[in-house]
Amino acid sequence: MRAEPILRAAAAVTIVMAFWHLASAALRTYFLPGPLDVVPRLLALLGEPSTWGHIASSAARVAVGLALGSVVGLAMGVAPRYLPGAGFILEDVVYPVLESVPTICWALIFAVLFGLAGTVPTLAVAVAVAPFFAVNAWEGVKELDEPLIEMAHSFTRSRARVLRFVVLPMLYPYLFSALRSSLQVSWKVVVLGEVFGAVDGIGYMIWTAFSSFNAPLMLSWVLISALIIVLSEFVVFKYLDRRFMRRWRR
C-alpha cells in the first residue's frame, strides 16, 4: 500500500535525471553539467557544515516571512467581516497592488530601502504570500457557518472569543490551502531575494557559484532548493493533511 507513492516518486526522479543527462550530453556545454557531475558535488556539499548554515538562514527567512505575511494576510481577509468597506479596499485596492507588482520589484524596492541586511528576502516573502492568505481567508469568511457563530454568541458576547474558538478554526482549511501554495512560493522568493539582498543563504550561494562560473556547484544549490520544496509538499503537507485537516472535511 505504501509502495505505490515511493515507486511513483522513484519513477519521477529517474525520468528527470534521464532527461537532464540526455540534455547535458546533447548540449555538451560546461554550463549544463549532467547529474553524474552534479550529484557527487551535491553529496559533498551536504557534508559541509556551512551548507546547513546557509539552508538554516534561508529557512529562517521563509519562516519569518511566512509568519509575517500570513498574519497580515489573515487580518486583511478577516477584516471585511468586522469593518464595513474593508471588503472593497481588499478586493479593489490592496489585492490588485500586491498582485500586479512583480515580486522581484518588491525585492528591489526593499533592497533600496533596507540594503543587504538580509531583511529583503524576508519582506519579499511576506509581500508575496500575504495575498494568498488574504484571499483565502476572505473566501473562508464568506462561507462561514452563521448558525455555528450564532450558537457561539449564545454563550458569550465576546467577539474575540468567538473569533478564537469558532471563526478562526472554521478558516483553517482555507489557511492550510494558502500555506500550501505559499510555502513553495516563499522558497522561490527567498532564493531570488537572497541573490541580491543578502550575504548568506541558498540564493546567495547560487549567485556566488554563478559569479565564479562554477556550474556544478550552482546546480547543486539549485537542487537543494528544489529538494526542500518537494519534501515540504510531499512529506510535511501530506502528513499535516492526514493528521489534522481531515476532520475539517467530515
Partner: protein, 248 residues
Amino acid sequence: MSYAVEVEGLRKSYGGLKVLSGVSLKVKEGEFCCILGPSGCGKTTFLKVLAKLTPFERGTVRVLGRDVRNDSSYLSELALVFQEPRLLRWRTVRGNVELALQLRRGSLREGDAALVEECLRKVGLADWLDAYPHELSGGMRQRVALARALVVKPKLLLLDEPLTGLDVRTRRELQDEMIKIWMSEGLTVLFVTHDPAEAAYLAQRVVVFSDKPTKVKGVVEVEAPKPMDPSSPELKEVEERVRSYFYG
C-alpha cells in the same frame, strides 16, 4: 412569586413583516414551560429575544429579574439549545462541550474535565467522549448539544424544538431525559415545540401562540406530576385541551 421570564407587550418585526405582536407571558422560576405554536409563528424569534440574539421594537422583557435592554448579566445564567445540534465537526464530543466553557470564560480550568464528563454522563454519552460528531446519530448529537448547554450550569434553559427530525423512540427517550434533568437540576425550562402531544407530555404549563402576527392564544395548566404515564387518561385529557387551543 418570582419569575424567570416576564414579557409584556413584546413586538418584533423583520423588515415590514410583523412577527410578534404584543406577546405577554410569565414563566415561574423552576417551571417547565412549553411554548406551542405553528411553524414560522415566531417561537424561535421569541427565544432569541430572551437570549439577546435579536433586538425587538417594543415591550418589556425581563429575564431572571433583569431588563434585557440595559442589563446583559443574566446571559451568564442562561443557555440555549437550537433545533439543530450546531456542533463543531472538528472537535470531539468532549471538545464540543468544553467549547461552551471556553466561550463563557475564555479558557478551561482545573476540574472542567470532570464537569464535562459529568454532563455527558447525564445525557448518556459517557462512553462517547472522544467520538466526532459524524460518528454519532442525530439523537446523540442533540444530546451533546444538551450537555453543552448544561455544562455552563444555567438557571434558565431555552430549548428551541430540539427534538425535531428525530424518530419517535429517540424523541421519547430524550423527552424523559429532559424531564429527569429538569427535576434533578432545579432549572427553569422554556421549551418550544409545534407538537401538542410533546408539549402536553413535557410541560407544567403550555403557552399556545397564534399564527403571525403572533399573540398568546391560550394557556393550559398541567396539574399532574411529572413524568406522566404516556398511556394515562390525564395525559390524553391535557393533550385534548392543548389541541383545542392549538387548532381552535
